[in-house]
Subunit: 206 residues, 2 copies
Amino acid sequence: MMTQHCVVDLSMKNSKERILLAASKLFLNGGISALSVRAIARESNLSTIGIYSHFNGKQGILDALYIEGFTRFKNAVDVPINSDNPKESILAATQGYIETAINYRGHYLLIFGESVAHYLPSDEAKKSSVAAFLQTTKIIETLLPKDATFEQKRNTTLQIWSIVHGYIGLMHHAIAEEVDSAHWKGLILDTVSLHVDALIKLHQSV
Amino acid sequence: MMTQHCVVDLSMKNSKERILLAASKLFLNGGISALSVRAIARESNLSTIGIYSHFNGKQGILDALYIEGFTRFKNAVDVPINSDNPKESILAATQGYIETAINYRGHYLLIFGESVAHYLPSDEAKKSSVAAFLQTTKIIETLLPKDATFEQKRNTTLQIWSIVHGYIGLMHHAIAEEVDSAHWKGLILDTVSLHVDALIKLHQSV
DNA sequence: TGACAAAATATAACGGTGTTATATTTTATT
DNA sequence: AATAAAATATAACACCGTTATATTTTGTCA
């Protein structure tokens, strides 16, 4: 390989960047099973050991993709808050969440599937998941009275999140194969809508 | 190895049974990562090729565990129906579902995790998931008017199932690490209860 | 500029995986 | 008893994540 100086050249990018780019590409195209250390090395024109000097091996690659995934979800639910109409904000965030789950299915499976062989997110990766959860809480807590405790806010956020998360989990399952996939988004939004109404009534009456 | 005739001896059980027993044992103890073809062969006193002549290799083993998992869930939600109080039956089924998910976490990840490497359930395995879904529908449809279409029944079942399924998915996630695990069952049951009430009101007013 | 330390890279190997080709033994049938 | 069929064993293949070793490139300092 030639040595090049001071020339902007994609092939000369940071090895680290090239690795990450190759990993993302493989992951988006073929999911987790296409993401082998050797394949990343091939794709980024390095040898396998490069993945270990620049990242922490496969664990490091998965951590990077994990963080990328949760960052996308955090951004997806970062919608303008409408205090007069909490439901509107929540449905907008829900819609963003669903679209991200569909468009980045590999990431979704990685961060929620729990069973990618031997992978456990690092502490840093876990931080990204907590950040996404806190962002979601900001949207959901508009349903609650202002003096609600954090525990109440967290539990209500879990309620809504579980509904959406559960639907997405079932969406690609044989159980629901005969449900027209175009209808899923509507089904989820209807369910969240019904549940939000119930929560609003609950907190009005108390 | 000695040859034995017409003697009831556990060590002489069907090779097939021995393989399945070994696989179940390994799976319950160490999850999916403990379930290698060689480990099953060792545990069942056979060589690897036995797993291929008696089952369809690892695919066949996973299929058997998949069916075992869905059969457990089907049984868990098979509760007596109380037509006068649909909510009671639904909460009982929910409780059974949650307990099965906790006690058989490996099975839960296998049948819902979606990302066990390269495994896709066979048609026969899919049938077991559909059977569990239909059993659940029997419990949930008591919420609906008797002339409800199958599509309505199915969608309502999906609603309730998604809530429970979503909670269980989040339960073991870093997002919710600080939630006291003893509280989970209560949180889920409360949410299902609220949602069922909302559904009942919805169908009364229409 | 030349010498030397440090970082990056390459090669090859280790132990593990699912799978299969080949050979052998056991079982059942005629 | 002979033969076909089923079950089993051994060894190998191609892949995986990882790492020990060796080599090259890069950066720093005298």
